[in-house]
Symmetry: C3
Subunit: 396 residues, 3 copies
């Protein structure tokens, strides 16, 4: 965008250099890219998310949570529609007592009056204490973070920016909630109250299954080529040791793993394998039986060009759909995830799977609320207050 | 709807059987149909509504009310537009401290992405604690209640569903607020603080006028055939003893009392009389002078077919409008109700009536707030906490 | 509007007579017109705004503020789009704990159902405690105030009305926030905590510069003829002694100072001078060097007729834009104001000016929040409670 010209040099720097500006003494100032989700940060955020989840169940904990950020006001600036991410952030704010405001119409009155995007953002930062934004405009959130950093240097008012899905590349809070779900699922710590008893039993049946996301096989199914979700999550998972990834998608360049992601995953030491069907063998055994965590996705229709739309419409999607038979081939502990919404016409996950104990996708959605609340607590430097409140009001 | 096919057997059962599933040990789990408003339940809800109304006037009461459900978050899912019902529910939630969230656009992003309606509802139930819904899709609220009951059986997260006007048949919370207005108006209990002194005086002038909704004549005027309001209210009133109902509408099959309602009222022991003008006699006396409670309605234009639209446009609506002369013929205590909005072009109630003490329609609208708040308290099983708070903070 | 016919006699009275009805014993009942902003009232409101601003910075002050009007619910009825004014009022309400509700769609469902505007307003007043309204319909807010006064006389429920920009003439809360910014900027009281130290230094360099808005030269640049902002602010400033005003606009009748405002300002004793360029001399010196306060405006495009649009498009707007050179000619203390949004295409204030210490327009926007909060406190008669809270929780 011409408007972001002044930031073009900043935008072209290596990701590590950029990420340093989005943090201050190890704590995030802005949440812009999934690459900021280091393993130590994930551990902190997941721990806070667990604390928030537990407190919200107790009347006293719930009440203390609602006071934690009651002095803050959030702006949800969602010019790209997204009911689910929007409501999840709203709920996260409300759990912590943050007051919510929203601008959702892509054509706000100010744009009609030819206000620049950066003036709109600075207006929001005048009235509110955090800007949570979703937009189709590439790099918009990142440029807002640079604007806020500039204001901070001038000792003017500056607020944190959260990328809630900007452009086509990044959806870092989706990666965060996916990781929270994976970490919770593979948390075999016997002392952890949050551990589902089903998994404790499993650990005994699978003595070689390690706790945590490392040393696992992840399968991503469906729309691999597009979908910032897969890209963001795979990048975060690649930080763990001994990770194997299966990518299962139709043979169409739009839907397949793109080369830049393939190379970057391999460089991180991930074993990458690609398939064009769920019903296939790998190293002499059924593929499905070798997956520790299954991540389903929807074939996105709204991003297609007319030509791609036609070609994709001609593809038989049956090999990328779950069925009861296929679920039966999975290990008894393999969580089934989906970033949602699922496509009720294509049916990549038919509703008969919903009652299977491995179906984790509704829980995953609810985890988004806790994970996003944890992120807000972190950005407002309120984690210590949170943990103090926990120790004060929760039974030991 | 094809989508609701799995519930078709459940939907076709008799109402009594269905209502049993919407309650638990005498308390509502979901508010789906006006037929759930039994006389004992109405009494409970009206008592709570009175308590809420009184508490909200006192600073301490007001403050306690705002804490009562502060730990709950509501979703107002209103895909059929309705400013009035929407705002009334918002206000009801706010009185009790419930945080409100809304989805109002009939084309949410998720539908664009081909998410099923039931997945959307389950998403809402992941983030929020009650779903208040209005929709043009018949049986939608009822099917949501079945989905929630299924989830409850699977020991998964389940939340109450409130029908705020779904399909063309049911608007149970409008019936609730109408009943609250009627019960308050005919509450002659001298000890009740809420009694308007005007009515106490009346009781002396009309020694035969019984307290309560029983043994009264109700007149419904205007659009009887359509309008879920008349249907819902008449059905609830039919539970009381000695009720007579006048239905006054143009001679057009779309606007007249339909036969199923006529039969069901008669079966309940209601004396049903039908007229085509307010200016008529009944049993040798002016009709207007024999009415205890007058319920005016708007001729609905937005539901008309083109043919019906033309025919109805040709009808002279003068006999279904109030005038000062007609109001003068009413008994001095007869409340004039209207579910609102009124039609400012047709003028079924001209504004000059507004200052008449019998004009109860604005108070009726405000009563909607208290009655809906009472319903929320009931659904969240907080009536005992409400009454305890009342006894603690209110002067004896 | 035909609908407002019943108020036509009231509307035509002199402004002083009308304003008397919008107040009660010296306190505003409704905020309808900038002409209600007397100097004593401005002083009160600015003092409260300062108190609110300071309290909001301290955790305890912030918490007390959120309790001040927590028992009140606001309706923001904005049928003319305005993101900035809307969000500023939202934030103002939230600072004081007021619950916000909004109706923004010009075609609400009730209008579809032919509800009169006055019935809609009365519905809002049934559920909410203040109505903040913006509309393109001339006199709408004023008529609502009359409706509320009528209801009050009938001892029925009545709520305050705030004009947030109605019709083309009045935007009183913009004038209020502009005045708050001017009063703060020219407040040289050494004991005042809010005084920016930069201005304290200035006072020493300009020993003749008086404290307060009196005896100053104000320049208004750009779209003088339209724009309720200039009209409202100039009218309020005209109350002060020794005020000189420069109006700098293109030679086009739509954009120039209109005669009624010119006459009324002169009648109030203001020295009025008109120019067609910022680069001009006045009394032998550069115009820019003689301005104490510079008020820039955007050429409004959305109000133009097709003919005016063409003519204005042909005008060279360069003489009405700020540049670094022009800013360098201003006195070192001259605040640059702009009601915002600014036009990013025309660029009446290019972004390179933003980091100049005289650029006050973002601070001005933020001041809107404090000034509007102060107005709400005043309308709800909570100024005493505010000042008591201040003395209790703030360090001396």
């Amino acid at each position: 965008m011409q408007e972001f010209e002044e930031f073009s040099t900043l935008l072209q720097r290596p990701v590590e250099e950029k990420n340093r500006e989005f943090q201050r003494q190890g704590r995030l100032k802005h949440m812009i890219s999934a690459s900021q989700l280091s393993i130590p940060l994930l551990e902190k955020l997941c721990h806070s998310a667990n604390v928030i989840r537990k407190m919200s169940r107790e009347p006293k904990g719930n009440e203390r949570l609602r006071k934690l950020l009651a002095h803050k006001r959030a702006m949800l600036y969602f010019t790209q529609p997204s009911t689910r991410t929007f409501l999840s952030f709203m709920a996260a704010c409300q759990i912590l007592g943050l007051t919510c405001n929203e601008v959702r119409d892509p054509k706000t009155s100010s744009e009609v009056k030819r206000e620049s995007r950066m003036d709109s953002i600075r207006m929001f930062s005048s009235y509110f204490d955090v800007i949570i934004m979703r937009s189709q405009i590439a790099d918009f959130a990142e440029c807002c973070a640079y604007l806020m950093n500039d204001l901070e240097k001038q000792e003017r008012r500056s607020v944190p920016i959260i990328n809630a899905g900007v452009g086509s590349d990044e959806h870092p809070t989706q990666a965060l909630l996916d990781m929270y779900t994976i970490i919770r699922t593979f948390d075999f710590d016997e002392s952890s109250e949050s551990r589902p008893s089903r998994l404790a039993d499993l650990r005994r049946s699978y003595p070689n299954l390690a706790s945590g996301p490392a040393h696992k096989t992840y399968a991503f199914v469906g729309d691999i080529g597009r979908g910032r979700t897969v890209r963001s999550l795979a990048t975060v998972l690649a930080q763990y040791d001994g990770v194997k990834m299966f990518f299962i998608s139709p043979d169409h360049e739009v839907l397949q793993l793109d080369d830049s992601l393939r190379q970057s995953l391999k460089k991180s030491g991930v074993v990458v394998e690609e398939f064009n069907s769920l019903e296939t063998d790998y190293q002499g055994q059924s593929l499905l039986s070798q997956i520790d965590c299954l991540y389903m996705t929807r074939i996105q229709r709204e991003h297609n060009s007319e030509q791609a739309e036609k070609e994709i419409a001609a593809i038989d999607l049956e090999p990328y759909r779950l069925t009861s038979d296929r679920v039966a081939q999975l290990k008894s502990y393999t969580p089934i995830l989906h970033p949602f919404p699922r496509d009720s016409v294509i049916g990549e996950i038919p509703t008969e799977i919903d009652s299977d104990p491995r179906a984790m996708y509704f829980r995953q959605a609810r985890n988004g609320m806790w994970a996003r609340a944890a992120l807000l607590v972190h950005l407002f430097d309120a984690a210590d207050s949170l943990h103090l409140a926990y120790s004060e009001v929760m039974p030991a």
